[in-house]
Point group: C2
Chain length 335, copies 2
């Protein structure tokens, strides 16, 4: 049994982490919800019992075995080492340590073995990269993958609770002719799509788009994998979708890819288009699987495959994967 801290316990990912720990029956002795001073004193319910949120400080981690961080990169950088010093293993959902060679970046279905020999911090991947590598790994193992082109359709809950509230309020206002000005996003998100997630760099890509490539290369152990992404925010509450085109090293037909994906860990194939069956964000919301459909031979490349991947950004894209990392650490004796 373990004492588990959740840093950012009152946010959309943090509260999903509490639900996922419950659902999966993770062996928790003490749950210690941590957050900013503003949230301190409120309570988080776990298995029917209230746990009081404490203010996050460097002294918050005494007696903690596992600290799940999901309060942004700045807080991770400021407090993760204190947690490790107090004896905890940190599973960090921010991007702070994801490219640190001393920190494993892990999706257990893909590269669980990378957890071995961790130095106290494990990074949880980006919410687009995590489901992407779950779908790509079995194909990479079978025939190799050389190039990936991703266009994403990302839900607002990836931005946080304020963005969910903004989408709802803006949409209601738009329908009644009293649309409030945007505050969370630089442009209206109601009935709109925004090709802008994270900050732009000099290359014209955004940080989010660059993360998809960097993290996929690290987790797939394919340092030469060529990746280009266009990351787009869409007016969806939960679950990110991705239109993905890949180029394999050896040819693989869509039928073969479908067979491989049907038995791949963490993947649920939903691919009967003539029966209108394909992955949808509203169906994926609240689910832990990576849903894959629209699997077809890419008409534009002899070794090309196209597919459509949908996964709940708060679940496999964040909370579920973090809890799975904790489970792996426990099961393999790597805590």
């Amino acid at each position: 049994m373990f004492n588990v801290a959740i840093v950012g316990a009152t946010g959309v990912v943090g509260s999903t982490m509490v639900r996922v720990l419950e659902e999966r029956g993770f062996p928790v002795t003490e749950l210690r919800p941590l957050a900013s001073a503003r949230s301190a004193g409120t309570t988080v319910e776990y298995l029917g019992k209230p746990f009081t949120v404490q203010e996050l400080t460097a002294d918050s981690f005494e007696g903690i075995t596992i600290a799940l961080f999901t309060a942004g990169s700045e807080r991770s950088r400021a407090f993760a080492h204190a947690a490790v010093a107090a004896g905890a293993v940190v599973i960090d959902n921010s991007s702070a340590f994801r490219m640190d060679p001393d920190v494993p970046l892990v999706v257990p279905e893909v590269n669980e073995a990378d957890l071995e020999g961790h130095r106290g911090i494990v990074a949880n991947p980006n919410c687009v990269a995590a489901p992407l590598v779950v779908a790509l790994k079995p194909i990479a193992d079978a025939v190799g993958i050389e190039r990936v082109i991703v266009s994403s359709y990302q839900a607002v809950s990836g931005t946080g609770a304020l963005a969910v509230a903004e989408l709802r309020a803006q949409t209601a206002g738009n329908l009644s002719g009293t649309e409030p000005a945007p505050e969370v996003y630089p442009h209206p998100i109601a009935f709109n799509v925004l090709p802008h997630i994270d900050v732009f760099d000099g290359s014209g890509y955004t940080g989010e788009e660059i993360k998809v490539g960097n993290e996929a290369r690290r987790m797939l152990h394919l340092p030469d994998l060529r990746v280009s992404a266009t990351c787009v925010r869409v007016p969806v509450i939960h679950a990110h979708s991705q239109a993905v085109h890949i180029e394999t090293t050896e040819p693989l037909s869509a039928a073969q890819a479908r067979e491989i994906l049907m038995v791949a860990p963490g993947v649920a194939v939903v691919d009967d288009p003539t029966a209108n069956a394909y992955p949808l964000p509203r169906d994926a919301a609240g689910r832990d699987e990576v849903f894959v459909g629209r699997i077809r031979d890419d008409a534009s490349h002899p070794r090309g495959l196209a597919m459509w991947i949908v996964s709940d950004n708060l679940r496999k894209g964040a909370a579920t994967n973090a809890v799975q990392i904790a489970e792996s650490l426990v099961m393999r004796g790597w805590l």
Copy 2:
């Protein structure tokens, strides 16, 4: 001065055609709105005067010079030849004749000369293909294009007025907890994205996705151009967006592509991402331009370019392009 019939005058595209004829000062003597018996007797206003909608029959075209058809493929197949027999030139917005070698498929900025020698019917392209070729043509002319990968974010007005009503009603219902069941689409479109536009064929692609490639190849005069599309309906009212990755024959930097596009006919470059300036569907709605931004070197290919294209599907994707074809026919003396 010309007598202009609009077949499907009461639909979303037909009524936009009336507005575009007005705005551009097209020399109309008589406007003859045609529609199904259900709409006959209603009126369409043109330059402040009401014109009574008449029921579409084979006898509807006497004295008509130009007939703009936008009432679906079935009605185009049934009535276009009657219009031609009556002496009209048909500009058809359906997919009925787009791949007919006897029928030019034209975006005037791209392949206006293909109109010469038409046999009475001209096809207006698909609402994704039209803006795509406007953006690709100047790049193809400069350095050649070999491959195009498109992921679309398509507005519901492309489906018609009932789909716009469904999105609004479903969204309002969702927000108030009384969401009606979908009728126009096979799944809810409110706060969802649907990777399904048009019907699926045996290849796993949809008709819409196949049209993008076929029509781009025809209009660009690049029969070997390799194209793969994923067409996705998103909860946006007007204007289609596209994340586009292209492979050119000779290298072209993003900076060079931006310079080429800045002077390209029909294109408006909106590409200052650090100032949050990129094309957005809500900004493009009601506009005739093809907006291009997020122009960048494709990190995954040495001769790759990525860009983001947005255009009003009812305008350049339909009505505006049809009226531009009519203008070309008049100006070049090809009526």
